[in-house]
């Protein structure tokens, strides 16, 4: 990176693409993707009211 690059340009270059989270019409949050067409549908809400240990 050239030293004389404007700070904003440098930040923009270094910053990754935005992470996109989508919600459908039923209020269901879909999996994280970096472009919408890469998203996969995953229902994360637990109907039994218990919390899964998936993240441990």
């Amino acid at each position: 990176m050239a030293e004389n690059t404007h700070s904003s340009e440098r930040v923009l270059t270094n910053q990754r693409e935005e992470e996109v989270i989508e919600i459908d019409e039923n209020g269901v949050v879909h999996a994280v993707g970096y472009t919408p067409n890469q998203l996969k549908s995953t229902v994360l809400r637990d109907p039994e009211g218990e919390y899964s240990d998936w993240a441990k």
């Binding site: 904003s8 935005e18 209020g27 269901v28 949050v29 994280v32 998203l39 994360l44």
Partner: protein, 248 residues
């Protein structure tokens, strides 16, 4: 539903909410030396800014405020209504006080409190905190009198917090927090803003932590027990209505 952008501002909060009728709202404002300025971030997304919400006037929620106001001239400021004077006083706080007192000709300040409902387009904003009378004598009264609100659009609910701590969580109407789709974690995902009890009520599907390098009191692992966590440590996080989801 509106589009939410949680900007990567390191330790601090800055969120843009773009409602479907063209109203744009910024919640908190944070300038980080290593990131785009708040004004640059906003200009990359919107051409106008209508409403500014400052959850509470701590430095990591109001830096860069003046240049945003001078450029966009937003018509509305929503603030928590509680006067706090930092020691030492800093420039952004002085400007915030000027706006809060109604000294800018183009901007109307409004103190918001729990129970107020504002409808914008198809979304309903419910102010959940602060509740009146204000909390006095807690370990951190500035954090504990901040604004918390929900944005409900159809069946989605996004909860936006400032730096709410246990003392304020205790005062809130927990029924308002059930079935949360997305939660912006309080106090940048630190232990001080974490409440196991309120998370069990919310049952969020996704949690967003607005923070930079994790500090010693980071509670990301605890939040991860409830839902997947997205952070702004590397990049902005955008929450939007589904457009083209591939189901497998």
């Amino acid at each position: 539903m509106p589009t939410f952008t949680f900007f990567a501002v390191d330790k601090g909060n800055m969120t843009l909410i773009q409602f479907s009728n063209g109203i744009n709202m910024m919640v908190d404002c944070r300038r980080s030396a290593d990131r785009l300025s708040p004004l640059e971030y906003l200009r990359s997304k919107v051409e106008k800014l209508d409403i500014v919400v400052i959850t509470h006037p701590h430095q990591d929620h109001i830096t860069g405020l003046q240049e945003v106001f001078e450029f966009f001239e937003p018509k509305h400021l929503w603030h928590c209504g509680r006067y706090f004077k930092p020691d030492p006083v800093f420039d952004d706080w002085t400007f915030y006080e000027k706006v809060r007192k109604g000294e800018l000709p183009y901007c109307r300040p409004m103190a918001v409190h729990a129970g107020q409902i504002i409808k914008i387009s198809e979304s309903q904003i419910t102010i959940l905190a602060p509740r009146l009378p204000f909390i006095e004598g807690s370990p951190e009264d500035v954090n504990n009198n901040g604004i918390v609100f929900s944005v409900v659009s159809g069946k989605s609910k996004v909860i936006v917090t400032g730096d709410t701590q246990e003392e304020q969580w205790d005062t809130l109407d927990h029924r308002e927090f059930s079935d949360t789709s997305i939660l912006l974690a309080s106090h940048h995902g630190r232990e001080s803003g974490y409440s196991d009890r309120i998370l069990k009520i919310m049952r969020p599907q996704r949690i967003i932590i607005s923070d930079g390098v994790p500090c010693e009191t980071d509670a990301t692992a605890k939040y991860s027990r409830f839902a997947p966590v997205s952070t702004t440590r590397d990049n902005n996080v955008v929450v939007a209505a589904v457009r083209d989801v591939v189901t497998t």
